[in-house]
């Protein structure tokens, strides 16, 4: 069970504990009660028009008949409009007669009651004087001073004006010594009336809150009905909570009657909607039910309201039960704690209303508590909890949806990125393939023709073996560099030069020269094509090979230098050199120059006999 479920169960448990405590209290306080009078003599009197001073108990020779209490006029005197007189007798010892006593009635349910002790008028109670009397039958307590009592037999006359139709009559009479009857009264009053104060105040607040929420969230279909139900209950019950709020007597009947209808219709509609049902016809029927109740209430006199209340109670009970069935059948897919809370509240509502209907029909003790009104706060609480649960589930769902959406957007972005990368890669591949094609053609011309020339030389027997080996090495070198040039180096000149040295490693080591490699950090030229890479490598290779093979040098230096927008790659040796003037530009030098030009650069070759050779390749760093 969730924490919220526990809280709901706790509230329900508290409620049940209170009810149980109230019931138990009655038993506990039996002790100091001196007499519980459940037998009386009764006589009807046609005296309503008599002025108050003429209202005296009927003489002993009147046609008194024995009745037992409680006396529910609906059962014993249906349709009666006359005044009823009760005569009760009780013994007091001389000791007891010296103390004041309390007269306690669990239910003050008559239009008016007058009490006479030993023939003297003692007190009168108008049920309408007590604000709750009309709907919830508060208890009654009167203190009887010792002056009105006597040792031995005491006679109590009670004059009762009551309407049988609305189940008025007389309960048993409890005579208790001194303040002993007070706790009985307090407990009954707290259970029947004070709880109503609490419920009404809470309903008022909850109704206003729900209305405020609804103002912010007009689309909600349950909140307005929650507000209407709670406020209807609070507003119609309010006048009965304290005599200060009691409306003029003229409205007592209609208003008291209307309370029942005010909450019933909206609450049933509300429950249906919470259960996820929107049945326009059913809802319309409920509104008709409510409005009819209001109209009847304002038209019918009190004498005629009884049968309407009977039908109302039965209909409401059936409606509650039907609602319970609908709820249980509707929410089968997902039973959350809020569902069980609402179902429990409805079960309790059915039981409480059945109890009160049974009382109304006179099937159970007339002095029973009125319990039906307890179901309203219960059901409202359960519905409120359901609404809150839904609200937070919706908030969570929105959050979840937001997270999912974000995830999906991110996913899409990744896919687009990947697609873009793939397209880029494909473009790159295509460019590379074109370049490869070009280099292949180049190799076929260059490498192919030198191999063919070598083949011719071998076939004709012109070439010596070392010569063949050397030329084959050159061809292999050429092949390796061509393949290396295809490697994606992003125009990293350091790596391009490093690779030339790597390929020449064996030659350098076997030549025995002191090799100085002074290649610094070089800029990258991403726009460099494989063909340009190959061209650079060939120039450097050519220069290095010359120095290693022909110069008879002791030291060879490769040095790079960045000069403004130009990169200089220098290959120098301390070998024999050559006389620039005397050497006719050979094929090697010509091709080196041609390659440098194709790169947008140039080659400077400086040498003189005996002073070494210095080859410098100048490359523009900014490829236009």
């Amino acid at each position: 069970m969730t924490a919220r479920g526990k809280a709901g169960a706790f509230a329900a448990g508290l409620f049940l504990a209170l009810a149980a405590h109230a019931a138990q209290a009655q038993v506990q306080v039996q002790e100091p009660v001196v007499h519980v009078l459940d037998r009386a003599d009764f006589v009807l009197s046609n005296e309503r028009l008599l002025p108050p001073y003429a209202r005296v108990p009927p003489p002993d020779d009147a046609p008194w008949q024995q009745v037992s209490l409680p006396d529910n006029w609906y059962l014993s005197h249906p349709g009666n409009t006359q005044v009823g007189w009760y005569r009760l007798a009780f013994e007091l010892s001389p000791e007891q007669a010296r103390f004041p006593h309390a007269l306690y009635l669990p239910r003050n349910s008559a239009r008016r009651m007058d009490f006479y002790f030993n023939g003297n008028w003692h007190s009168g109670n108008s049920g309408y004087g007590d604000p709750g009397a009309r709907n919830w039958a508060p208890p009654l307590i009167n203190t009887v001073p010792a002056l009105n009592l006597k040792p031995g037999l005491n006679v109590l006359h009670i004059r009762v004006v009551a309407v049988p139709e609305v189940r008025q009559g007389l309960t048993r009479i409890y005579i208790a010594q001194g303040p002993a009857g007070r706790p009985l009264y307090e407990m009954r009053y707290a259970t029947q009336i004070t709880t109503l104060f609490m419920f009404s105040a809470a309903a008022l607040l909850a109704g206003l809150l729900a209305a405020a929420f609804w103002l912010r969230e007009r689309g909600d279909t349950t909140l307005p009905w929650f507000a209407v139900t709670a406020l209807a209950w609070a507003v119609t019950a309010f006048p009965w909570l304290h005599s200060a709020f009691t409306p003029p007597a003229l409205f007592h009947g209609p208003l008291a009657f209307a309370v029942r209808f005010a909450y019933a219709g909206p609450m049933l509609v509300l429950c249906l909607r919470v259960a996820g049902k929107r049945w326009p016809w059913t809802e319309a029927a409920m509104w008709a039910f409510t409005l009819t109740g209001f109209l009847l209430a304002s038209v019918l006199s009190e004498d005629r309201q009884g049968s309407v209340i009977t039908y109302w109670s039965a209909t409401y009970l059936v409606a509650l039960f039907a609602l319970l069935v609908v709820l249980i059948r509707s929410e089968q897919r997902e039973r959350r704690w809020a569902f069980w809370l609402l179902a429990s509240a409805l079960i309790v509502a059915v039981l409480l209303n059945a109890h009160d209907l049974a009382w109304w029909m006179g099937w159970i003790d007339y002095e029973s508590f009125q319990l039906a009104h307890f179901h309203i706060p219960l059901v409202l609480f359960a519905i409120g909890a359901t609404i809150i649960d839904r609200h937070f589930r919706a908030v969570a769902a929105v959050e979840q949806a937001r997270v999912e959406l974000e995830e999906r957007v991110a996913q899409k972005a990744r896919e687009i990125e990947a697609n873009y990368a793939r397209v880029q890669e494909a473009e790159h591949e295509k460019a590379l393939a074109r370049e490869r094609q070009r280099i292949m053609a180049d190799m076929h011309d260059g490498l192919g023709s030198s191999l063919i020339a070598l083949l011719g030389a071998v076939q004709s027997g012109e070439a010596s073996l070392p010569d063949v080996e050397r030329r084959l090495h050159e061809a292999l070198q050429e092949l390796r560099l061509a393949v290396d040039a295809l490697e994606p180096t992003d125009g990293d000149l350091g790596v391009i030069l490093g690779n030339v040295r790597h390929r020449l490693r064996a030659a350098i080591e076997s030549s025995g020269v002191r090799f100085h490699w002074e290649v610094g950090e070089l800029p990258q030229l991403p726009s460099l094509t494989p063909k340009a890479v190959l061209a650079i490598q060939r120039v450097v290779l050519e220069a290095l090979t010359n120095s290693l093979r022909h110069a008879r040098a002791r030291g060879v230096t490769v040095r790079t230098q960045v000069n403004g927008n130009w990169l200089q790659i220098g290959v120098s040796d301390d070998g024999i050199g050559f006389d620039e003037a005397s050497v006719t530009p050979g094929r090697g030098l010509a091709s080196v120059r041609q390659r440098a030009r194709s790169l947008g650069g140039q080659v400077d070759i400086r040498s003189s006999r005996g002073a070494g050779t210095d080859v410098t390749l100048r490359l523009p760093l900014e490829h236009a």
């Binding site: 290396d484 790596v495 490699w517």
Partner: protein, 222 residues
């Protein structure tokens, strides 16, 4: 390490091409410091043949008829950590060489190498790894580089290069020899080898975490 006294190194060879195999076995036999234990022609044969134990050095051709040479490398590197693996590659096959290094190989030799080179290469590998070509060094550098946006991913010393390691790779990629690199950075050649060993290990770890990352991305692991 008594690299100079060079005790006999045992070697096994996996190569399906008969001519290449013949050339390689001849080269190995010509070296007194090497002893050829076995030659295999397929991956399956190799895995079965290595059952009793692996040689000091295993030469593996990447293009085998049955299973990929990379698989053989991965298996042997995992199973026999003491065995140094050299892959036999051809020109321009840097991508495969890098994959082999990631799989656990310690170096590579080119099919066109001269006979005496093999002894050097094997000696190199026993010393801590064969010379990285500038192109491969650059690739390794790229692969293990720390992302620019260091906060984006947790910096992982297991799979990214330290500044020193980056410096070493950068120098090698510009064509400098190990000795020159050591001199430039003011460290010994042995230290360069140590760094390279560590880089090789990171490469292997990186390839594993990258596989996991990739699998995650493709939703294979949940």
């Amino acid at each position: 390490m008594a690299a100079d006294t060079a005790p006999v190194t045992t070697v096994a060879l996996v190569e399906d091409d008969r001519d290449t195999r013949a050339r390689l076995t001849a080269s190995i036999r010509a070296q007194a410091s090497l002893r050829l234990l076995a030659e295999y022609t397929t991956g399956a044969e190799t895995l079965a043949g290595l059952e009793p134990g692996a040689p000091d050095v295993l030469l593996v051709d990447l293009g085998l008829p049955d299973i990929s040479g990379l698989e053989v490398v991965r298996f042997v590197a995992e199973r026999y950590p003491g065995c140094d693996i050299l892959v036999i590659s051809i020109f321009g096959d840097e991508a495969n060489v890098l994959a082999a290094l990631e799989a656990g190989a310690r170096g590579y030799l080119l099919k066109g190498s001269l006979q005496h080179d093999i002894a050097f290469d094997i000696q190199d590998i026993r010393n801590g790894g064969s010379p990285l070509s500038p192109i491969i060094a650059r690739r390794v550098l790229k692969r293990l580089q720390r992302p620019d946006d260091a906060s984006a991913r947790k910096i992982d010393d297991e799979t990214t290069l330290t500044a020193r390691e980056g410096e070493i790779l950068n120098t090698i990629s510009r064509g400098f020899s190990y000795a020159e690199t050591a001199q430039m950075l003011g460290i010994s050649v042995g230290t360069v080898h140590t760094f390279l060993k560590r880089i090789y290990r990171k490469l292997a770890v990186h390839s594993k975490t990258e596989a996991v990352f990739e699998a995650n991305r493709l939703g294979l692991i949940r």
